[in-house]
């Protein structure tokens, strides 16, 4: 017989004691961990149903397909960026994580991104390709080639039937008339377009005479522009030895071509304007270089001229001084000549008078007047007094003409005796 009380209880409860007993919260927590870790970031494709916007701004809806339904929530911070409206019946691709809402025992998809299905798949492919090319370094700034200072020959890869080529050529004709264009005609949308665009870039590289390549097409839907997102085009741009400008579309719709290209602009016209701007900037630069040169030279010549004037001024005074000295010299020379002449005259006169005086003093002159001169021989002293001689002395008497020698006969003391 079974025992009452604890035995019975232990019999009934016993095996259960060995099992782990979850509380609701606990098991919900475990489910939450498993689900959220397993589905932390997933893409889910489905159709929207039960779409509603809460007063908080959060979106609540379900994703469903033929056989299942998934609750979904997209909170304000995620749906604020959404570019299109969500509606029931819309096929979408969502990216998000699975979340367990324990209060109601529900799991749901918390949506981060949502895209309409057609484009979404393409967008996904685009994102994947973009990541791949980015990792390979196709968009790296260090790979960007510098545009030529001034392209004189443009290569243009575009359709000859579109507005793009017309816009580009018109702007160039007006703003950069010296720039030639080599057009490589390609289709810019549809299946073969990407291959043709890529080949066009290669052709222009092989042809080699262009300085810059523009790949372009006018605006259109995302699908229209899709060729410019294809890998083959991105790689052709990357491999081009000639710099490439990507000018695709009419607004900001960034294609992979734009990301790989050395420069990208929003419209074909903007690409042509780059060339026109370059030309205008260069014309201005050449003009200002020319002006600068003229300015420098005129300043240089002006300075030299001033210097020359100053030097000439400095040169003038020595010259003047030289002239002054010359004048002085001339005057001195004149004076000297006159003085010499004067002194010569004076000297001559003095000499004449001296000669006359000499003449007057000459004994010979006295003799000619009848006087004579006697000297005592043999000594020859002039006899001036009778006392110096005695009778018998030999004397020589000199007359005006000739003379004689005589013997002294008698001495006469008195002069009066003769008179």
């Amino acid at each position: 017989m079974p025992k009452p009380g604890p035995d019975l209880f232990s019999q009934v409860m016993g095996p259960q004691e060995q099992k782990h007993i979850y509380s609701v919260s606990e098991i919900t927590q475990d489910i939450k961990v498993i689900l959220e870790n397993t589905f932390g970031g997933v893409w889910v494709e489905g159709e929207i149903s039960n779409f509603r916007v809460a007063t908080s701004g959060h979106f609540y809806f379900s994703l469903k397909d033929q056989s299942a339904l998934l609750a979904a929530a997209m909170f304000v911070r995620a749906n604020r960026e959404l570019k299109f409206k969500l509606e029931d019946g819309q096929k979408v691709i969502c990216f998000g994580k699975i979340d367990v809402y324990g209060v109601r025992g529900q799991y749901q998809l918390i949506v981060d991104k949502i895209e309409p299905k057609g484009l979404g798949a393409q967008q996904l492919a685009f994102e994947q390709l973009k990541n791949k090319l980015s990792k390979e370094g196709l968009f790296a700034p260090e790979h960007k080639r510098e545009l030529p200072l001034m392209p004189f020959c443009l290569g243009i890869v575009t359709s000859t039937a579109g507005a793009a080529i017309r816009d580009i050529l018109q702007i160039l004709a007006k703003g950069a008339p010296g720039v030639s264009a080599v057009i490589r005609a390609v289709r810019v949308q549809g299946e073969p377009a990407a291959k043709e665009i890529a080949a066009g870039i290669e052709d222009l590289n092989k042809f080699g005479k262009v300085d810059l390549i523009i790949i372009s097409r006018g605006g259109g839907s995302a699908e229209d522009l899709w060729s410019f997102n294809e890998e083959i085009v991105a790689r052709a741009i990357y491999n081009s030895a000639i710099p490439v400008i990507s000018a695709v579309g009419h607004q900001i719709n960034i294609t992979l071509s734009d990301l790989v290209a050395d420069v990208f602009v929003e419209t074909p016209s903007a690409a042509a304007k780059i060339i026109v701007d370059k030309r205008n900037a260069l014309i201005a630069e050449v003009g200002s270089l020319r002006q600068e040169m003229i300015f420098i030279m005129s300043e240089l010549i002006g300075n030299l001229k001033n210097e020359l004037v100053a030097l000439r001024h400095m040169l003038k005074s020595p010259l003047d001084r030289l002239l002054e000295k010359q004048q002085l010299l001339d005057e001195l020379c004149n004076g000297l000549n006159q003085n010499i002449r004067y002194y010569l005259n004076i000297s001559r006169e003095r000499m004449v008078s001296l000669i006359e005086k000499l003449d007057a003093l000459s004994p010979l002159a006295v003799l000619s007047r009848g006087y004579s001169l006697s000297v005592l021989l043999p000594g020859g002293e002039i006899i001036k007094e009778a006392a110096k001689i005695k009778p018998g002395d030999k004397v020589k008497t000199i007359l005006a003409k000739g003379g004689f020698i005589g013997l002294v006969k008698e001495i006469v003391e008195e002069r009066s005796r003769f008179c």
Binding site: A181, K209, I283, V286, M293
Partner: protein
């Protein structure tokens, strides 16, 4: 390509000349020589930029050989 190269060379040379002239280390004779060269370069650069002799051609490829055809813009506009 050739035109671009000579233009860039001319412009670089012109910039260098202006730099040298403004450096003020040249004799008058040297300055005059550089100035004369500079004016010629500026002239040739201006001509390159303002020359209106442009061509618009279509690159075609036949049996791997490239050739240029005249591009008739009016014709293309008709197609638009």
């Amino acid at each position: 390509m050739k035109e671009k190269q000579s233009f860039e060379d001319d412009l670089k040379r012109l910039q260098k000349i202006v730099e040298e002239l403004s450096g003020g280390k040249l004799t008058l004779g040297e300055s005059l020589k550089k100035y004369e060269e500079g004016i010629k370069l500026a002239q040739s650069c201006s001509v390159s930029l303002s020359d209106a002799q442009r061509k618009v051609e279509l690159l075609t490829k036949k049996d791997g050989k490239y050739s240029l055809e005249k591009f008739n813009q009016a014709e293309s506009e008709d197609k638009v």
